[in-house]
């Protein structure tokens, strides 16, 4: 199954899309734990794309592609912003960063998904979850 969607850069559009996505996982053999991990990762990627990538510009969209096959889910989220240096993201688990209110999104994605790659100067994130 492949799901593609161009999402307007508005945070309130995320629940609608997530409900659509979760509905498609309902009758699958996915474990609840895997769905939880995929859900957080997808939502964090969408928030980052809307907030930091497209900077809430409603004229810009976030392009989502989700491929679900027997043993894995592959998600690609692409924004139309200026990109960012994904090699220098501070570690949010360091003591000095623990009380910071932001900066955990990419860390959560990397922790919860099995494979994470950035492309196009950070405008595109591709993440894979292997299903057990």
């Amino acid at each position: 199954m492949i799901i593609t969607q161009a999402l307007p850069s508005r945070l309130e559009k995320i629940p609608e899309f997530m409900a659509f996505f979760l509905e498609r996982t309902r009758n699958s053999t996915f474990r609840e734990e895997d769905i939880f991990d995929i859900r957080i990762s997808l939502e964090e990627a969408l928030v980052n794309a809307i907030k930091h990538g497209n900077k809430f510009n409603a004229a810009l969209s976030v392009d989502i592609s989700i491929e679900i096959v027997a043993d894995r889910v592959t998600i690609t989220v692409k924004d139309q912003g200026k990109g960012f240096d994904y090699t220098t993201i501070p570690d949010p688990t360091k003591d000095a960063n623990l009380v910071k209110l932001s900066g955990r999104g990419v860390f959560l994605i990397k922790s919860l998904m099995d494979k994470v790659e950035f492309f196009d100067c950070g405008r595109t994130i591709k993440m894979v979850k292997f299903l057990k």
Partner: protein, 109 residues
């Protein structure tokens, strides 16, 4: 999104539903009200919270800092295994006092 109960001077906030980018602003407003009321001991019960994202974590960190500023303290309890794992992965389990049950959280509070 919050049901409130009391145990002596402790306010028990029972959160209802997901804590995400769309629900966090309402939760922040509820927490601001609690701080304005000068409530110093707050226990948050997560038994009805199936999901939390990074914006939810930020809202809780903000609440913890505000409470500490007024000499108060915050405890969290009754998290599902998956919600707790988000605190553990992000090492926020070091920052917050997290108890398995409400009863344990109330001990010596």
């Amino acid at each position: 999104m919050i049901k409130e109960e009391r145990s002596n001077d402790i306010l028990i906030c029972i959160l209802e539903g997901e804590i995400n980018i769309n629900t966090s602003p309402d939760l922040r407003r509820e927490f601001e009200r609690i701080i304005r009321d000068n409530q110093k001991k707050v226990l948050i019960d997560f038994s009805n919270v199936p999901y939390i994202d990074s914006s939810g974590l930020a809202t809780l960190i903000e609440m913890l800092q505000r409470l500490r500023k007024i000499g108060g303290s915050l405890r969290l309890a009754n998290m599902s295994q998956k919600v707790k794992s988000v605190f553990e992965i992000t090492k926020l389990a070091k920052l917050f006092e997290i108890a398995d049950t409400r009863e344990k959280a109330l001990e010596n509070f």
